[in-house]
Symmetry: C2
Subunit: 441 residues, 2 copies
């Protein structure tokens, strides 16, 4: 399902002019899915597909019944308020709908007259979560992040002995996952400074981000029935950007022995557009596992895909203070990284998660973990970029930052681009920190 | 809402004879809720209330419209397939429905002729999960368990410095929570023995249990709005028994640095009947926090309830091997403990979970963590009862056990009993281990 086909042809053009605009995230080769409605009209949520600056309203399209067979079946459920039922259908249906949409949106399509009335401008839209997220699991797939963070917490043993064997993951909180643009209050929590005798309840002073990708699960598995790694990608609908906001001071005091909890579960932001694995097919690249590292255990070794298990997705972190916003200055890119540096692949996350029989469900969300690369400017969390808060960043406004101040906005972006192929973008994942509320006592 | 009222009167009698049977878990003073249907009839799920050996079918009762006001409003949603909407209504509605049911089921009730046709025998029923569980969080509220386990993993520092300050918790997996009786396959996972150079994928050899209580959340809170500890219990619908099955060998290798993951998420079993906090009111007892321990931080200190924040709930773990089952031998009680030994109260779990703004939703599940008491026979996990697998238990069949063998069944039971009050029981929480499946490779 993730092989190249006519939908990837870089020569394709759409009758939607903005789909040809230089630098658009949403050319006709992308066609990502979201849940949306027009702002301020009391409308219901429904599925949409991005094309240039527009959205194809899939509920409206479904009403004119333009497709047949699996594409029509997929369109019927893609029109629903959230995409769980579409995700549950599986790759054959996803591909059929993608192909039908690609053909309908091409220059010269005989369906143009049917489809054009179903277009809405993205500027009028607001987005919902793409799916009802049953469970959210966060992985830890960047060996560079694991090493950088480990060095801060355990200088003598930055990388734990299990890292190169186990795709480390843990359960996150699904109720507080929100969609971009998300605004949330700075969390309060127990904080104990090293020299204090006791902790205090206070607003976090070390509020951080983690740049990740999110993975939306397609068809699930029954409890007790593992998903083999060779089949794992057929259980993946697509990817989004994900910001795993993290309160480092709360984390440092609470995380032993059972892992992060309140340091993470106050907010997690995802981008609205789910980019399908099929759209990413031209950007598959080999994993670069050092030759002297242990090979993955057989249940994690997808031999047929070793040369294309990773994705060349460029990722940036932008920082905009309230002052920059007031002066019309856009966010400033403070880090650039790439998903290809991850140590564990999407298929390995799925196979590992289910090897004990744990059941995944359509719409479940997996996070990749912080996607830091090997170079210092590729660190994907501020705690890494600022050496644990010791080396402030200077922004174009002249302001300095280690961790987030109230009013700061963080914008994550992601895209694939390479000569000979269409750019495939993720849009943006934006979040703003509001002041802490007075603790409830 | 959790004060004593006429529903707690130990002199109450029901026209359902079995509700007076010596030792019943479900006298008229209890009235716990479940989701049920009759087995093998293709019926839909609906809410039910236990009375003696019977179930009041709340969907059938709703159709005859016996109640008015808040009781009728609560009954209308209690008739639904799962109890989320009832949980969302809050304590005033729960109490009104409980009072109306108590009066309707009493000897001499004029409603008997209306209600009696709505009774079904429990022997014909099967149970569903009481609620759609959005998120499941597992706490660690027994200081005795934390110390016992800590001694096995960290002999030099059994209890971590944060324990007496932070109600430690972490996110669990909601998709694999099932209802008693649950049968599941022994999980496979990465296991690395201390003398091995590398891990292998194999069935767990150290499959364990954890006896806990589960807490079903009632009305939730909006993201960003903490629940004050003094209001926390009004967000709690009731309690169930919970078995947090745990693969200790998988856990030992995977759990650093982000906590348990595949060691826990293959299955979690809850008992079907949710016992309301109101039913437990006669069994409130003070917390016994040692005088030289630090007092809870203000956001965790419910001063008005300090003398009744704990519950005197007796708990047992029963073990039945396949051989015992074949010979008609019931499960053998290998440990007895009590919820009163917990270090953190239900209200403290809720207040802590939300102090950072994290949102709880109706039907969310909190686990108390393993409820070990101070004495060796009060250990609530086999790893504690058998000194890390070094001291086998001998069962009445002559068989020895450290961890679970295939075909073993574990039965958790819980009840409150004290002179002058009616017994309030939880029923049972039963689970059976099936053989591992061949790993998917």
């Amino acid at each position: 399902m993730s092989m190249l086909n006519e939908t990837h042809d870089p020569a394709l053009r759409s009758w939607v002019d903005s789909a040809q605009r230089e630098g658009t995230d949403f050319p006709i080769q992308n066609l990502p899915f979201a849940s949306f409605r027009r702002r301020g009209r009391g409308e219901g949520w429904r599925g949409g597909v991005a094309i240039g600056d527009a959205i194809v309203d899939l509920a409206a399209l479904h009403r004119v019944h333009p497709f047949e067979g699996q594409a029509a079946e997929a369109l019927a459920v893609a029109a629903e308020p959230q995409l769980n039922a579409l995700m549950a259908l599986g790759p054959a249906h996803w591909s059929a709908l993608r192909l039908a949409l690609s053909r309908a949106l091409r220059t010269g399509s005989p369906l143009r007259a049917l489809v054009e009335p179903c277009l809405l401008p993205q500027s009028e839209a607001e987005y919902g979560l793409p799916a009802r997220i049953g469970d959210y699991t966060d992985f830890y797939t960047s060996i560079h992040h694991a090493t950088n963070i480990g060095r801060l917490f355990r200088p003598d043993q930055p990388l734990l002995p299990n890292y190169k064997w186990v795709p480390i993951g843990y359960h996150g909180r699904s109720s507080s996952v929100g969609v971009s643009p998300q605004r949330f209050h700075r969390p309060c929590g127990q904080i104990k400074t090293p020299d204090a005798a006791a902790p205090v309840l206070a607003p976090s002073r070390r509020l951080d981000i983690e740049l990740e990708l999110g993975v939306f699960i397609g068809p699930g598995n029954a409890l007790g029935e593992p998903i083999p790694v060779a089949e794992a990608e057929s259980h993946v609908f697509g990817l989004v950007l994900l910001n795993d906001w993290s309160a480092r001071d709360i984390q440092a005091w609470e995380y032993q022995p059972l892992g992060p909890f309140l340091a993470k579960n106050f907010a997690t932001t995802v981008s609205p557009w789910v980019v399908t694995l099929e759209a990413l097919a031209p950007y598959r690249v080999p994993f670069e596992r050092p030759a002297d590292d242990p090979p993955p255990l057989p249940y994690l070794d997808d031999a047929a895909r070793r040369d294309r298990a990773a994705f060349d997705i460029q990722l940036t972190i932008g920082w905009q203070t309230a002052q920059m916003h007031a002066h019309g200055q856009p966010e400033h890119v403070v880090a650039q990284t790439n998903y290809r540096y991850a140590y564990w692949a999407v298929a390995q996350m799925v196979a590992h998660h289910t090897v004990n029989g744990c059941n995944l469900q359509p719409g479940d969300l997996l996070g990749t973990g912080t996607l830091s690369g090997p170079e210092p400017h590729q660190a994907a969390a501020f705690i890494e970029l600022t050496a644990g808060g010791k080396q402030p960043l200077t922004l174009p406004s002249g302001e300095q930052r280690t961790f987030l101040e109230d009013g700061d906005t963080v914008v994550l972006r992601g895209w694939c681009q390479a000569p000979g192929w269409a750019r495939i973008g993720f849009g943006e994942c934006r979040g703003t920190v509001l002041p802490a509320r007075a603790p409830a006592v």
